[in-house]
């Protein structure tokens, strides 16, 4: 067995490390720092690793194999996938480095590292349909974080488990159903059934409207830091997996109207997210609707893959992550500083006078996700808006309504944060300097980073266009 393979480094090594972390999980800080360092090293290694998987060190030539055979199945991580790997470990690093400050589960470092490795294995496993089984494994492991020790699993967790478990056989069945029918005409009933199964499976996985109900329920029950990590990883990896399906199944991508259906699914999800967000009164649920909106944008981008949607999808990964990070960090920090905030909107009244930097950070992260010019997500969203404006008039009012809904929510939120609650004491009577200098610096840094990405996307975001490189059939020129 050749151990000098890319899967050994980016799948088995982190899994091994997470197993070791089980031993030290009681040492909260130590395990967080090990997970941070491990993730960072793996991310940097993936970023600087040559695409040819060959390099010289101390006069010796090392050639890494991209395949690892296990149970007669292959785990293949090619050089073109290294950017994706770097990105996922970067997410793990970002969530672990700040997770130390929040009262999340002790198992967070251990499980986060394992989850990251498993998500990478979903992108590496061949035949790729087996990814469905690994996704199910990830879901089962995630529930450990979603249901903190000593607490009963809520209805959101149960529904999450149900929907993700139902998705798995749908994906597996589709593969079984259409085996060997690549040459069949696209109108073949088997192909249509296979397509429906795949789309339904991914809709359940990605929480596409109207199969999204578990998402806000779960968000309400879970710590925002844990929730954001799990679903960020899930969504980012599943979008790439969906691209993999479209890339590998010629019958799927050549099916007449498939991209049109995805466009509609994206627009409707986006619309549902925007409208539901505008009416939201629970702060913990907000992230769920933000994820729903971003899912809508991403499905729309995949639907517009022939109109440049792929680029928009690739450009949106990092700014979206930073916006999620900023939102969930700020919210977790607010809940840590002010435990009396019960998650209702009214409990946030006048927060600006008490935590001005946190309040501004909440607003700016939302503005970033809205696609405000000058912030990180603008270049990608502008591409999508321009594409749909060029394509058809049908989507424009729906997308505009979704954007308006989100803008309305931001203004409501701003109004709540700025308007003092008449029952709370005036600011002078509240505890001064509740925001530490470190927190202020972190929040300012992420705002600045978002600004830099929005103004210099060609510097900060272009490297991530490489995420599309593995999909040579779907995007022949990419």
């Amino acid at each position: 067995m050749n151990l000098l393979t890319t899967p050994s480094i980016w799948i088995f090594l982190p899994i091994l490390l997470s197993l070791l972390l089980i031993l030290v999980h009681r040492f909260h800080k130590l395990s967080f720092w090990i997970a941070c360092l491990g993730s960072l090293l793996l991310a940097v290694a993936a970023f600087i690793f040559p695409q040819s998987l060959e390099f010289n060190l101390f006069g010796r030539k090392f050639l890494f194999d991209d395949t690892f055979q296990i149970f007669n199945r292959g785990l293949i991580l090619t050089g073109s996938q290294l950017k994706t790997i770097a990105m996922l470990y970067l997410f793990s690093f970002l969530w672990n480095i700040a997770g130390l400050h929040f009262s999340v589960s002790r198992w967070f470092p251990t499980i986060s590292l394992a989850i990251t490795a498993l998500w990478i294995s979903t992108l590496a496993v061949k035949p790729f349909l087996y990814a469905a089984v690994i996704v199910e494994l990830i879901v089962l492991i995630s529930t450990l974080l979603l249901t903190p020790r000593g607490k009963q699993a809520g209805s959101g967790v149960m529904r999450y488990l149900v929907s993700q478990t139902v998705a798995m056989p749908l994906i597996l069945l589709s593969g079984w159903m259409v085996t060997g029918i690549e040459t069949a005409p696209s109108a073949s009933p088997l192909i249509l059934r296979g397509t429906v199964l795949i789309l339904l499976g991914f809709s359940l996985w990605l929480a596409v409207f109207p199969l999204h109900t578990w998402l806000p329920m779960l968000a309400d029950e879970t710590h925002p830091w844990v929730f954001s990590f799990i679903f960020l990883m899930q969504q980012s990896s599943l979008w790439l997996l969906l691209l993999e399906f479209l890339d590998q199944f010629a019958w799927l991508r050549n099916l007449n109207g498939i991209f049109s259906v995805m466009q509609w699914a994206g627009v409707l999800t986006l619309l549902a997210g925007g409208v539901l967000l505008s009416l939201q009164t629970r702060i913990n649920r907000v992230l769920a609707y933000l994820i729903l909106i971003e899912t809508g944008y991403s499905v729309l981008a995949i639907g517009l893959i022939n109109q440049g949607g792929g680029n928009a999808l690739a450009l949106s990964f990092i700014p979206r992550v930073l916006a999620y990070w900023q939102w969930s960090y700020t919210l977790s920090s607010v809940q840590q500083i002010a435990p009396e905030i019960d998650g209702s909107f009214s409990s946030l009244s006048g927060l600006f006078s008490r935590l001005p930097f946190h309040s501004m950070s909440l607003i700016i992260s939302l503005l970033g996700l809205l696609g405000l010019p000058a912030l990180g997500l603008f270049p990608a969203k502008r591409m999508l808006w321009n594409s749909i404006a060029n394509l058809t008039f049908q989507y424009t009012p729906l997308v505009a309504l979704a954007v308006a809904g989100m803008a309305l929510f931001i203004l409501r939120m701003m109004h709540t944060l700025l308007t003092p609650d008449p029952e709370t004491p005036p600011p002078a009577l509240l505890i001064a300097n509740e925001e530490s200098l470190l927190q202020i610096l972190i929040l300012c840094f992420f705002t600045l980073l978002s600004l830099l990405m929005g103004i210099f996307p060609h510097i900060f975001l272009n490297p991530f266009l490489g995420l599309l490189e593995p999909f040579i059939h779907l995007l022949p020129l990419g």
Partner: protein, 537 residues
């Protein structure tokens, strides 16, 4: 790079002042740094007149085929004078601020004034709509932070959300207009705006200016009245006026009835705002109406197919308005200085505003033209009223303030005179001379009537003396209620409450025991709808 150098001349002193104040506070040194930086920038901008048009590409998003975007700036005969006006206003603010005991003049506010002016210049110099959208977004967020920092302890943040909301919408309308424009020319700049997108651009500017639909995008709280805050309030206005001036003159080739409706709304906004301006207790109370009325003039110019001439009214808004609003304390002895400011508004032949008459009156002269003359008369009347009612005699003014205070006001008047000579080719024109004559005639008539009837707004028998007072008052009140948009907000709240109830019901259904089945049912409904509407995949 000279354009960016001018912005640097504002931002570097701003940073220097902030640092020097933190290390070793010194009022005089900070004042000097601020004045020196702003004056150098003004001089630099003035010399740019010799090299117009001038372009600089700041950032090019590569690959070109992916983004079609450059962040670039351009100074030409459309925006150069706005640049000069903003810089003059900045210096005037710093000069007059130090002599005002009622406001907290301090180096921090001057540093903010310089920084905000720099940001504002970026917006004004934008070569294309996307650069402008980015600069609008940044300016709005900076302004929001500034306002919140400034007024967080005063409890005067009620209108902040509404104002920011309007700005946010205008930014997104600008982005939408750009998307429409890109369908014709990818990566278009202001010289390539197609007529099909021009109404959206006009709407973006109108929204920001508070004209379309009528809203008053300015705070008028006690602490946000003069000095730096005047810059803060005029910032979004200046860049929106530049956008109007960039619009193509073929706007009328679009849907005629739509243009007519917008024109009617604009005239109504101008009428209402100028009537309100005339009847306020003092100039500061009337400031939002001044902005809206003259912005409506600029919009009407664009609707009449002369967007470039809208600059005349834009400059009147900034410079003439600047003189009046900075005339605080209103010292009786020097009230001739703000009176000189009328040069920029009256529109006499061979004055700055002369070329603006043809733009607002249109061709042929219509009922709207007459209304615009009436609006102009009310603006001039109000302006005169606020100056003539100034009767303050200030004692104990610092020695330096006796020079700097009038100097600040004179600088603005001088800027008007300079622009009157070298602003753009054809600035020295007769224009429609009878327009200004008619307006002035109306003002004199109004003045005579007021004197004859012995009217004073503050007197107790005012109501009895004014003919048809009750009718006029009632009409104005109705208009105020309509234009305050309170009814709209109430309706929106009602609708929002109903929608919330519906959402709550659906949430309970979807998140209840049978939620998964309901989700599948909705999925089937949607799939069927798409299947029947779009067709089989």
């Amino acid at each position: 790079m000279i354009l960016l150098g001018i912005v640097g001349l504002l931002w570097l002193p701003s940073i220097a002042m902030t640092i020097s104040q933190a290390i070793k506070p010194n009022f005089a040194r900070s004042w000097f740094i601020a004045i020196a930086g702003a004056s150098l920038a003004l001089l630099g901008a003035f010399f740019l007149r010799l090299y117009l048009p001038l372009e600089v590409e700041f950032i090019r998003w590569l690959p070109e085929s992916l983004y079609h975007t450059t962040i670039s700036f351009r100074i030409d005969y459309i925006n150069w004078h706005y640049m000069l006006a903003i810089l003059a206003l900045c210096i005037a603010v710093i000069l007059t601020d130090s002599s005002r005991a009622s406001t907290q003049a301090n180096p921090t506010t001057w540093a903010a004034a310089l920084a905000l002016t720099g940001l504002n210049l970026i917006s004004v110099m934008s070569k294309d709509p996307l650069t402008m959208a980015i600069s609008w977004a940044v300016t709005d967020v900076v302004e929001l932070v500034y306002v919140l920092t400034f007024s967080r302890n005063s409890g005067s943040t009620n209108k902040v959300t509404t104002i920011y909301g309007v700005r946010l919408i205008s930014t997104f309308v600008l982005v939408a207009a750009t998307a429409v424009g890109w369908q014709v020319t990818a990566g278009l700049d202001f010289t390539q705006i197609p007529p099909t997108a021009s109404l959206l651009f006009l709407f973006a500017a109108g929204l920001r200016l508070g004209v379309l639909p009528l809203n008053f995008p300015m705070q008028n709280t006690l602490e946000l009245k003069r000095g730096t805050d005047l810059l803060l309030r005029f910032s979004p206005v200046a860049s929106a006026l530049v956008l109007i001036a960039h619009l193509p003159s073929e706007i009328l080739v679009l849907n005629q009835s739509l243009v007519s409706i917008i024109s009617i709304l604009t005239v109504l906004a101008a009428l209402y705002a100028s009537a309100m301006w005339l009847t306020r207790a003092d100039a500061n109370e009337g400031r939002p109406y001044w902005v809206v009325a003259l912005s409506a003039f600029a919009l009407q110019s664009a609707l009449n197919g002369q967007p470039q001439n809208s600059r005349v009214w834009g400059l009147a808004l900034l410079l003439t308005g600047g003189v009046l609003f900075l005339f605080d304390p209103p010292i009786r002895r020097i009230r001739f200085i703000p009176l000189l400011g009328l040069i920029g508004l009256l529109g006499f032949p061979y004055t700055l505003a002369a070329s603006g008459w043809s733009a607002i009156l249109g061709d042929p002269v219509s009922f709207a033209s007459i209304m615009m003359i009436l609006c102009h008369a009310m603006l001039v009347g109000g302006y005169l009223r606020y100056i003539l009612e100034a009767n303050s005699t200030v004692t104990g003014l610092e020695k330096y303030a006796r020079i700097t205070y009038p100097l600040g006001l004179i600088l603005l008047v001088q800027t008007m005179l300079v622009l009157n000579l070298v602003g753009w080719s054809g600035v020295l024109t007769v224009g429609i001379w009878w327009g200004s004559l008619a307006s002035l005639g109306l003002v004199l008539l109004g003045g005579l009537l007021t004197k004859q009837l012995g009217l004073r707004l503050t007197s107790t028998d005012f109501k009895e003396k004014v003919p048809f007072y009750r009718l006029g008052h009632r009409i104005l009140n109705v208009l105020r209620v309509v234009f305050s948009l309170d009814w709209f907000y109430a309706m929106a709240r009602w609708f929002f409450a109903r929608l919330s109830n519906a959402e709550d019901f659906f949430r309970q259904v979807l998140e209840g025991e049978a939620g998964v089945l309901w989700s599948l049912f909705f999925l089937l409904v949607i799939a069927t709808l798409i299947y029947t509407q779009v067709g089989q995949p």
